[in-house]
């Protein structure tokens, strides 16, 4: 409805951004498919925001190329790229009403007034802010401001929408709600979303694909499920979800806490002693001291796993062969 479905495939080739001797982005090659919800995930300093700013055109690439549907836009200034963007903190125009904020992109393109009015009404309906058109940003809640920012960024039907930690300012409960709204919005408008976050939960729940970034490089790319079940490196395994690490035959393996089973003493591959446990509602999280693998974290269904074990209890541990994922050295 609102998107520009005929366009929006991005290609990044050998992108580098250097500040003096520091490489913030150190060579990125990535295909972003048309209509995809792609998340750049990484800790602060991993280069994810710099990469987004380069796609937006606010940061000039030191080397490399950016292509939109096969045409280079590396030299195109930000105002000519026609990419929507939701900024960290939203960056709404504080002196303009919600209506004028949303209309801005159309008004600077000198579109006829009736067209602008119709489009603004459509966008406000899309984000369910119909009654708020005459308010100033300061008169809105954080969640409402976030929706105005979305409506403003999508008003001119951009082929690509860039989102820079758009949920960072919201409280936790609202964040989960907005995640669902965003996902739903993405389905409806069909625009390519490039989403930057350091929050693994957001990345897992919303994205078609996630790019894990570290020190300006891509650590691993894949669907949330691929990344969770087949992490390639220790960094990927520990940044997305929790992981135990095992050594065997000179190799390292990652094993998720919920893939380890607790058995009676004497059974299973190895034995251990309960060090501590914490109750998480649906889950019981155990810390278990093992002779071969150090302390392992084990998650057990609280309702299926039988009575909780006290610290000091001796147990056996087991897991399926494919639960231990070999990591690259």
């Amino acid at each position: 409805m609102a998107g520009n479905a005929a366009s929006g495939g991005l290609t990044l080739r050998g992108l580098v951004k250097r500040y003096g001797a520091v490489e913030a982005v150190a060579g990125i090659d990535l295909e972003i498919k048309r209509g995809e919800f792609l998340t750049l995930l990484g800790p602060s300093g991993s280069g994810k925001t710099t990469l987004l700013m380069m796609i937006a055109g606010f940061q000039e690439a030191t080397a490399g190329e950016i292509l939109l549907d096969g045409h280079s836009i590396t030299q195109t200034p930000a105002e000519k790229r026609n990419f929507g963007m939701v900024f960290q903190g939203y960056a709404l125009f504080p002196h303009l009403t919600v209506r004028d904020n949303v209309a801005y992109s159309l008004s600077v393109r000198r579109r006829p007034k009736p067209e602008i009015a119709a489009r603004v009404a459509e966008m406000l309906e899309l984000v369910q802010l119909q009654g708020m058109a005459d308010r100033l940003p300061a008169q809105l809640s954080g969640g409402q401001q976030q929706r105005v920012a979305l409506a403003r960024a999508l008003a001119f039907a951009p082929p690509v929408l860039l989102l820079d930690e758009p949920l960072g300012a919201l409280d936790r409960k609202l964040r989960v709600e907005v995640q669902e709204q965003l996902k739903d919005l993405h389905r409806r408008v069909g625009t390519t979303f490039v989403y930057v976050t350091h929050d693994q939960e957001e990345a897992l729940s919303m994205s078609d694909r996630v790019v894990i970034m570290r020190d300006g490089r891509i650590e691993q790319v894949g669907t949330p499920e691929e990344l969770y079940t087949k992490p390639r490196t220790e960094f990927a395994a520990s940044f997305l979800g929790k992981s135990n690490f095992l050594h065997r035959d000179g190799r390292r393996f990652s094993i998720r806490p919920e893939r380890i089973d607790l058995l009676a003493k004497g059974k299973g591959r190895t034995k251990g002693t309960v060090l501590a446990l914490s109750y998480f509602g649906p889950l019981l999280k155990y810390q278990i001291q093992t002779p071969d693998h150090g302390v392992l974290e084990v998650d057990v269904d609280a309702w299926r796993g039988g009575p909780a074990l006290a610290p000091g209890a001796e147990v056996g541990l087991d897991w399926k062969d494919d639960a231990a994922v070999p990591l690259e050295q």
């Binding site: 606010f58 930000a78 105002e79 960056a91 801005y104 001119f156």
Partner: protein, 281 residues
């Protein structure tokens, strides 16, 4: 729950100052108000003269004109200086601020005489231009309204720069990026976003310059060469030379009322404390 208890002891600390202000400031002010209605004889004759005497009307018009032109020029020049300062590296900004403050700190008398030496009939500029063969007669830069404006604008620019710079530095750079991202050209971003967001600084700077200009005395007296008569100089003449205290008091009351009126009008549009450099909102 006695009233003594509810009295904040901090009041004791400012009490001497309050007493001083009451005696040394409010007292004379009331005296001026009193004089304007009683000297030389009781009644409103001094105020009626405003309507009847064309010389007074001319005086007020000159004052208003010079103040308005000074305000417009100071704010325009101050805006571009502030813009430059807001967009250079921190070290350069501090250097520029130092230059602004140096001119701020130099006595207005020194600055005015410097302008005379630079721009007078036998000043550096006129002599230079004549020797270079560009002009044959000295250009009358001073001892006229142009001179008054040059002197006043030069003096007022820092007062315009400081509040405008504060407003510019308060702008979130992401808002300007958002404007570009939404397709606005640099000129559109300036007119639609940057200028409106700096408006509080412009209003505060303009108000400050206008109010200070209204009471300007030394610069018009010297740079105007007696040909550009403004209210402050006229009041001084009435008190020291012609001894018409009633007229002087009436003009003083009029100026004070205009300034208070301006502040009141402004307070309807914005928070005064913000305009005068108090807390930022």
């Amino acid at each position: 729950m006695s009233r003594i208890q509810s009295l904040n002891p901090a009041w004791l600390l400012v009490a001497p100052l309050l007493a001083l202000v009451a005696v040394m400031f409010a007292g004379p002010l009331l005296n001026i108000l009193w004089l304007s209605f009683t000297d030389p004889e009781p009644g409103i004759a001094n105020y009626v003269a405003l309507v009847e005497k064309t010389s007074l009307q001319k005086l007020l018009w000159t004052t208003l004109r010079v103040c308005l032109i000074t305000t417009v020029l100071s704010v325009a020049l101050g805006y571009s200086i502030a813009y430059a300062m807001a967009n250079v590296a921190e070290a350069s900004r501090q250097r520029m601020m130092l230059f602004i403050l140096i001119s701020f700190w130099i006595s207005v008398l020194v600055r005015t005489f410097s302008w005379i030496m630079l721009l007078g009939r036998n000043g550096l500029l006129n002599n230079g231009l004549i020797e270079a063969g560009l002009i044959s007669q000295p250009i009358p830069f001073v001892r006229n309204e142009l001179g008054v404006l040059i002197g006043m604008v030069h003096y007022m620019i820092p007062y315009a720069v400081l509040p405008i710079l504060a407003a510019m530095q308060g702008i979130d750079g992401r808002v300007l990026q958002a404007s570009r991202n939404l397709g606005a050209s640099p000129a559109q971003t300036f007119w639609r976003v940057y200028l409106p967001l700096t408006k509080p600084g412009i209003i505060a700077g303009a108000l400050l310059v206008f109010i200070l200009s209204l009471g300007f005395y030394i610069t018009p007296a010297i740079m105007g060469g007696g040909k550009v008569l403004m209210v402050a100089e006229y009041i001084s003449v009435q008190i020291l030379v012609t001894l018409k205290w009633g007229t002087a008091a009436m003009l003083a009351v009029l100026m004070l009322a205009s300034v208070l009126g301006l502040l009141y009008v402004l307070s309807r549009f914005m928070k005064l404390s913000a305009a005068l450099g108090g807390g930022r909102t």
